[in-house]
Structures are given as C-alpha cells and as structure tokens.
C-alpha cells in the first residue's frame, strides 16, 4: 500500500513458500505511525497470524523481516533491521536485530518488510528485486557455511543466509547477513524448517526524505555527539564491547562457572584489553555507524570478525576457559555454522555442570577446551547423540537430566554473560523480557547498575521503573532503525567521564528515588511532549525523515506499545506470571555467601514491574493499558482482511524444477 510518508518504501510483501504466491500486504500509514517498523511492526503483523501455541518448526510459523524508517536515510548507526518469528528455542515470540546490509538492500528493492509463510518443498533461496520475487533452487548451497553460501550467491545484493545449524534445525541457529548475525531465538532453524537457505535483495530505489535539509543538519550534530561521548566516541571504538569484561569482573558481574560466581581469576587473559593488544587489526562497524564497535582480529594470519563481550564471558569465565585465542576461533566457527553464540555457550556450560554433578556423562567439563571445537560441529550437524541433545538448548536438557535450579535460562532462552545477583534490576529484566533471558530486551539495567553508572546494584528501589523506561526507549529506538548503543549518548557526558565527582555520586545515589516520577512517565508517555534533541535525536530524526510528528513521548509510547504487543502474543502462546522467573541459583542462593543482598529478590521486583507496566497479578496486560496504547481492538481488525487500494500482483519467477516439485507437493 503506497505511503504518503517519507523514508518508507510503502510496500510489504507476503511470500508463501508452499505455493509460491507473492502478494502485497495491506499495511497503512496509520500502522506505520503506530508501529514504526522493525520489531514493533513485525509484532503487529505476527499478532494476526497467531491464534494459539504452534510448533515453531512447522509451516504454520511466520517469519517477518522488517526494516525501519531510518534505514537508508544515512542517520548514524541506523542501518539495523529485524527478523521475528515464533522461536523453536522458547516457543514464544523472538525478534532478532541485525546490522548486515540485507535490510538496506530490501529497502532499495522497494520493500519495508517481507512476510514469509508456508514451507518450500525443496531447498530454495529467494531473490527479491524491484521486479518481484524469484524462487531459486538452492540445492547447490546445501550444508554450506554462512560465509561460503554468501560467496556462492553472486551479485551486489544484500544477503540473509543460514548455515548447517539452521538446515539441521538446531533450536538456536541464527541467520547471518555479511558477518553480522540475527542471533537470538533460532531464526535460522525457522528458515531451515521452511527449506529457506537464503534471501537476497537488490535494488536502487531511494525513498524520498520529508525534510532532507533538516535531517542532514541533524545527522551531523548527532554524529558529532556520538563521536564526542566518552562511551560511544572513545570506549566502544577503541576496545569494542570487550572493554566491559574487566569492569564486569571487578563488579562481580562476570558470569563464572555456569553463574556460580561473578568473578574469574583469569579474567585478564580473556579481556578486551588482551584482545586489543594481541589480536586487533582494526575496528569495524555496520553501515553508517560512527561508533564502529565491531572488531577485526588476526587469527593465524587470517583477518576475521572478533568476539563480543557476551561470548568472551560465556565461552571464557563461564566455562573456566582462559584461552582467548580459542574464544576467537569458536566465535568465528559459530558464525560460520550459523549458531547463536550466547545460547550455544550457555547450553555447553549447563552440560558441563550436569556432568560435574554426575547427572549427564556428556564428556564436557569446566576448564577442558580440547573437545569444544568438535562439539560445536556435532551440534550443528547433529552427528552424535550428545550433539543432538545439546542442539535443543539448556531448558530441554534440564527436562531430560534435571538441574532446573542451575539451568541458566529464562522462558527457554539462555542468559547473557551478566551475573544478575550483582545487578538486581538486570535480574528482573531477564525474568520479564519478552524473548526470554535476553540482556537487551530486559532493559539492560546493568548499564546503570555498574557498567556505565554506579547506581546501587542491590537495591530494589526504582529498579522496575528504570527497567520499564529503558525497555520502552530501546524498543522505540530499535523500531526506528537505530542501534541500541545510540541510546547511551542519552546520558550526559559528565556522568560517564567524571565518575568521582560529587554530582555524579549524587545522581547515582538519587537515581532509584526518581522511581515515582519515572513511573508516571512510563504509564503516560504522552506527557513527554518535548524533544531533547542533543540527548535523544531519534524522534526528531524520525520526524524529519518521515513527516510524522514524533516527540520523545511518542517514541516511548511506541516502545511501550511494542513491548505490550509482544506480551500479548506471548500470552496467546501460554505465557503468564509463572514463566517470568529466573533459575533458583539466582534467586535463592547468595552470590557472596553471608551477604543477603547478593541474590535477586524476584517476586518483589516482579510485583513492582507488573504495576508499572499496567499488568494484572497474573502478568496479563490490563484492558486499560491496551486502550491507552491503542491496541485493545486488534482482533477486530486483522491486517490481512483489509482491502488493498491497488491489488499489487508481484511478478514471480521460478525455475521449472521448483515448479514441478511444488505441483507434486501441493497436488495441483
């Protein structure tokens, strides 16, 4: 459906792999205003398709690849796109953000999003251009690693591919674009289950910008702020996210030995500093990003992508490995095999503890690294019994062998590398995050509780409200197309660069007491009818790019709408308060023996969170909340029932072999 807004392509395609039909999907400008793009628009689309629990690896599942208004506008760090589906790892909604070029290429081809349904009868890859969608035979790409597959597909197109892990339905398989992954939740397995090896997109369409002059000026200022901010201008470019590891260790935040503690004796050997000195070639970044947090490292003469802090922690401290070279190697292999690094590492650590406790003789042991490379392959190719079991993820292992209390997952998703007993707001976030134990969807409160600021990590005061505020902010920024790291520049410089000043100390002390004020702003974001352009340029950029009048409150409200919409979908899939929980190790055992503060007071925090979110005690979104957010009547208005202004019939080209096999498959 065409759009009157700037920066949008105005077209969403629905591609049915079963019968190879392609049609336009009737998204309107009202939808664009409410749901922006990325993960929120994807949630709105998926909402209509989900009536109740499904088998995520069946053809009932739907994949939505969605771009955002700021993609393609040249706004700093705003080239990120989203992939959503029902996760085979968790059984609930997952959304995965990716910095590869595929999103931009999709927009250049003239589409804001694609919806993929059904299942191809044989391995296929989709070629999307301005002229339509071509279904290609992908048998020559079978079992190819993600790098190989991208090379084998010719052309200047943006690519999204899966590796052997996706084809073999590893529940936490990812999809890869360039060397960036849509990592979490098993998007790769969903593609694999649909026999979809890859999607490519190519075009030269440029979307008009509503106010190009003003946007150009804003981009300059925004870039300048990102470059001069201590976090986004210095720390991240110089050391990448790896810089965090030493700080995490100092603050008991570094998950060690399957989250037994928060400190690792050998942290120096696996730190960001060590990587910078011994392996770093240069820093790298997603397109249009001045921060460039990614690393290029040299491994035995070959330049490859370096690891992020999460994998450095989880494949280092959490399995008692002090060999950074191994971590670099595994990180590269995982991307090539197409498996999420965090879930793989979390599952392996759990298996190690099961083995240590005599509950599963799997051959994996803490500190033993010589069999990990083989294990990764066994998982990806499903070649051994141990590999097959590990491929199901930690929660499934705990159903087979027990150990729920030390199975470090929430709603089926393995936790990231931050030990939440030293940051209880982060602990709350893990337990209520929509996609499971994800540090970002959690609200990333650990940035306030030790990584960026030094707000008391143990107090429960104000934490629920802070988590909600940052969840909403990050959801909104992500749906706009911006990298979440851009939201760090929200913090005034002095808070980061002068940690010992009285003002910083005072802010850290007072932050939790802002809870009641933040609560009002969280509940009624409309009151934030203003823009703080230098601190939070996102809504202003959206306004200049699209012509929609966005203020800070609109961005936060869109974020809240997205979070609640995802919760609604999860509710349809059976989620309630019983699922918002952490393993007992984190809630019942003190991290530092004798220090009662060092465990997550989950129930208390959860109650505050539900109240702040406008949910009932059972974790259901209240009708009043839905009404305020304008998502109370979705069931009366499924998007697919709307008439299309112009029935866009999109050209479909498929090779004969595929047409034949489809005819056989659908019997017509």
């Amino acid at each position: 459906m065409a759009t009157k807004l700037g920066a949008y392509a105005g077209k969403v395609l629905k591609i049915n792999l079963s019968d190879q039909t392609v049609s336009e999907y009737p998204i309107t400008d009202d939808d664009r205003k409410k749901y922006l793009g990325g993960k929120i628009l994807a949630a709105r689309i998926i909402y209509d398709f989900i009536k109740g629990p499904i088998d995520p690896l069946s053809e009932e599942n739907v994949i939505v690849v969605s771009t955002s208004p700021l993609n393609g506008t040249g706004s700093p760090s705003s080239s990120r796109f989203n992939v959503s589906a029902i996760s085979p790892l968790t059984g609930i909604l997952t959304s995965s953000n990716c910095g590869g070029t595929f999103g931009l290429s999709l927009k250049r081809a003239g589409y804001d999003a694609i919806i993929i349904t059904g299942k191809s009868p044989s391995l296929t890859y989709l070629e999307i251009t301005e002229n339509g969608v071509k279904f290609n035979d992908a048998s020559h790409l079978k079992n190819m690693l993600t790098g190989q597959a991208q090379q084998a597909i010719d052309g200047k197109s943006g690519k999204l591919v899966i590796g052997p892990a996706g084809e073999n339905l590893v529940r936490y398989a990812c999809a890869v674009s360039d060397d960036r992954a849509a990592g979490r939740g098993g998007i790769g397995a969903v593609m694999g289950s649909k026999n979809l090896k890859a999607i490519t997109a190519y075009g030269v369409m440029q979307q008009p910008i509503y106010n190009a002059d003003k946007l150009a000026k804003l981009k300059k200022k925004w870039t300048k702020r990102l470059k001069s901010h201590p976090l986004t201008g210095k720390q991240l470019p110089m050391l990448g996210t790896g810089a965090l590891l030493s700080v995490m260790n100092q603050k008991n935040l570094l998950a060690t030995k399957n989250f037994n503690t928060g400190k690792f004796e050998d942290f120096r050997k696996i730190s960001g500093e060590e990587m910078a000195e011994k392996y770093l070639v240069k820093n790298n970044g997603c397109i249009t990003c001045p921060i460039r947090c990614a690393r290029v490292v040299n491994l035995d003469g070959k330049n490859i992508k370096g690891p992020e802090v999460e994998i450095m922690g989880l494949m280092g401290a959490n399995i008692l490995n002090n060999d950074l070279k191994k971590i670099i190697e595994w990180n590269y292999e995982l991307d090539e095999l197409g498996m999420d690094t965090i879930s793989t590492a979390g599952t392996i650590a759990f298996a190690m503890e099961l083995n240590e406790k005599g509950m599963w003789d799997c051959g994996l042991s803490f500190g033993k690294v010589d069999n990990i490379t083989d294990t990764l392959k066994e998982i990806a190719y499903n070649t051994t019994e141990v590999g097959k079991k590990l491929a199901k993820g930690a929660r499934e292992l705990s159903k087979m062998f027990g150990g729920q209390e030390f199975c470090m997952q929430s709603k089926g998703m393995e936790l990231s590398a931050y030990e939440p007993r030293a940051a209880v707001g982060q602990g709350l976030g893990y337990s209520v995050a929509n996609r499971g134990g994800c540090h970002l969807n959690a609200g990333y409160a650990v940035v306030l509780e030790g990584l960026g600021l030094s707000v008391d990590p143990y107090t429960t005061r104000g934490k629920a409200q802070l988590a909600i505020m940052f969840q909403n902010l990050m959801e909104g920024a992500s749906a706009g197309g911006s990298c979440l790291f851009t939201t760090y520049a929200f913090f005034p410089f002095f808070l980061m660069s002068k940690p010992n000043s009285i003002v910083t100390k005072l802010v850290n002390f007072l932050f939790p007491y802002f809870g009641p004020v933040i609560k009002i702003a969280n509940k009624f974001p409309d009151i934030l009818h203003l823009n703080l352009t230098s601190m939070l340029p996102h809504p202003v950029a959206i306004t200049y790019a699209t012509g929609m009048k966005y203020k800070m409150g609109d961005l936060m409200k869109a974020g809240s709408r997205g979070f609640n919409l995802e919760r609604l979908i999860n509710t349809k899939l059976g989620i309630s308060q019983k699922d918002d929980k952490l393993p007992k190790r984190l809630t019942d055992e003190e991290q530092i023996k004798g220090d009662k503060r060092t465990k997550v007071p989950q129930e208390k925090l959860k109650r505050q969170f539900y109240k702040g979110r406008g949910w009932d005690e059972n974790g259901m979104v209240k009708l009043s909340t839905l009404r305020y957010l304008g998502i109370d009547k979705l069931d009366d208005d499924p998007i697919y029932t709307r008439p299309l202004e112009e029935q866009g019939v999109v050209k479909v080209i498929a090779p004969k072999s595929i047409r034949k096999s489809i005819k056989k498959h659908i019997g017509s």
Partner: protein, 82 residues
Amino acid sequence: MVKVEFFGIYRLSYKMSSWEVDAHSISDLLKKLSKKFPVFTYKELKNSVIMVNDVNFLHLKKYKTKLCDGDSVFIMSPASGG
C-alpha cells in the same frame, strides 16, 4: 612497592598492563604516574575509576587513601557500557 594495573583506554594509551611504584597515597601515586608517563595529566587521572585491593576508592578515603607495600591498585576507564 604498590602494583598498579591499567585497564580500558589507560592500558592502550600507556601501552603497558602494569607498573610498580613506591607511593603512600592515591594522590601521590597519580602524581608520580603523570610525571613518569605524561600521557595523562594528574587532573585527567583523577577522573579514572580507581580500585584499591578490589574496593572502589570512593568507599575509602578517595585521593587520600593510604597505600602500603604490596597493595594492588586498578586504574580503569570511567565509561564502560556494552
């Protein structure tokens, strides 16, 4: 001697991971450090995160924190994030 370890941008800027110095307080240590390696001034160093034997010096006596032989001091970048 006090063992000083550098992290974050300090380690990359000084191009060394540790240094030993005879210092009786944090402020004495920072002065000596800025004099010996003028990569950062004393004023700039005052904005680092400083840990003395694993405890943030803000919980001790800040710049007046006394140091003894064998103490361990970490000098870390102020902003982290990730």
